[in-house]
């Protein structure tokens, strides 16, 4: 998802008899669905894992602005431009809600930024793919935001209060993102044959990267059990991926587009679509930094951060001077 492969520092979950009294009380609160708040006692590994997960989620929102920002000046109409601008602004807001949630765990904003820029913290693999045509704005909204919603809706019930509250705000706003994407796709498929072809091409390129967003298959996901026991992950990767496929395939059919998977078939018995797995070697390569746009995305973030330093410092210097002047008056 926006947070993939989050390391919990352990493999598997320890039994109740292996927990200290404090840890057992903590786990009991989580089992009772009582929210954990920043000043409450929490195991160091819970704190560390959450910083990783919320940080990665926040970074994804911020880096996620880049593939779409690419199209703000190129949007086909003024209305589409205004809509895309609003969406990109929402992503900035979502990043900010999440950074604040992460900061309640005792890490500073600048530390989070530095960890992103040094490559120590990751962002979602999906944003390392290029947005080549206007139809990609449709595919990103429809598929990428659609996949994000799949994951974020259950996270509104996550155990850490500030994270859950950020998720509530984000989910309220996210539905617009998916619908505007689908609306772009609807326009494209009702246009000229070349435009419909462009929509199909966007679906072809984004389908498997969207499936990768849910993270590795459950059998390869060593940290899932601990994260689920802590309720910072509410469903397994494969569950959410299946749910996404089931919901998205009929939407593609409505558009008259073909999912790029010859083995996609409705399974009467399970009540699910059977589908092909994405190329997990490609996924690993993208996470390692070798996707089509990794260097470009990180480069753009670092450039913005370093280029904005004089401005941040200037505002801070002004605030300090003004405070001194007020104190003297």
């Amino acid at each position: 998802m926006y947070a993939q492969n989050v390391d919990t520092g352990s493999k598997g979950v320890r039994g109740a008899d292996e927990l200290s009294p404090e840890e057992a009380a903590f786990q009991a609160r989580i089992d009772d669905n009582i929210k954990i708040e920043p000043k409450d006692w929490m195991p160091a590994a819970y704190r560390k894992t959450l910083i990783r997960q919320i940080g990665q989620h926040a970074h994804s929102e911020i880096v996620g602005q880049l593939p779409e920002g690419n199209w703000v000046t190129r949007a086909p109409t003024l209305e589409r431009k205004a809509i895309l601008l609003a969406k990109v602004q929402d992503e900035a807001g979502h990043g900010l809600y999440l950074y604040c949630a992460a900061e309640t765990l005792g890490i500073s904003r600048d530390e989070l930024m530095n960890k992103l820029h040094s490559g120590e913290m990751k962002y979602s693999s999906i944003f390392n793919y290029p947005t080549l045509t206007w139809a990609d704005m449709g595919a990103v909204g429809w598929l990428v935001d659609g996949a994000a919603i799949m994951n974020q809706v259950p996270l509104q019930r996550t155990s850490f209060g500030p994270y859950a509250r950020a998720m509530v705000r984000i989910c309220k706003e996210e539905s617009f993102h998916q619908r505007q994407g689908y609306s772009i796709m609807m326009s494209m498929v009702s246009g000229t044959p070349a435009q419909k072809e462009m929509a199909q091409d966007a679906l072809n390129r984004f389908w498997y990267p969207a499936l990768m967003m849910f993270g590795p298959s459950d059998k390869d996901s060593v940290h899932s059990d601990q994260s689920m026991a802590w309720k910072i992950k509410m469903n397994t990767n494969d569950e959410l991926r299946q749910r996404f496929v089931n919901e998205t395939v009929p939407q593609a059919h409505y558009l008259g587009l073909t999912i790029p998977d010859d083995d996609l078939v409705w399974n009467e018995e399970t009540g699910n679509y059977d589908f092909s797995q994405p190329d997990w070697d490609e996924f690993k390569a993208v996470l390692k930094g070798n996707g089509p746009c990794n260097r470009e995305r990180l480069g753009a973030r670092i450039k913005a951060w370093e280029g904005g330093e004089w401005f941040r410092d200037g505002l801070a210097a002004y605030a300090e001077k003004a405070a001194k002047r007020r104190a003297a008056a």
């Binding site: 708040e37 000043k39 807001g93 604040c100 904003r109 530095n114 706003e173 505002l315 801070a316």
Partner: protein, 94 residues
Amino acid sequence: MANEWPLWEIFIRGQHGLNHRHVGSLHAPDAEMAINNARDVYTRRKEGVSIWVARSTEITASTPSDKGPMFDPAEDKIYRHPTFYNIPDEVGNM
């Protein structure tokens, strides 16, 4: 990192005349910028008609471990609620 902007807590009054409510926090160099940023971060969809900002460091919070002594005493004072008193139906609505 020495120049990191301070953190501000943001409170917003919604459309319907209710109290300002805490909605989240953000970084800004000063109070004026905090209000400007809060407008963009927390009221993109007309969520509010008024914004308060306060430096996070200026907020003093109760400690979680005091929860019992702080809040439990109210538990057995059910006579503070109107439903504690039985008023006969004949009296009418009260």
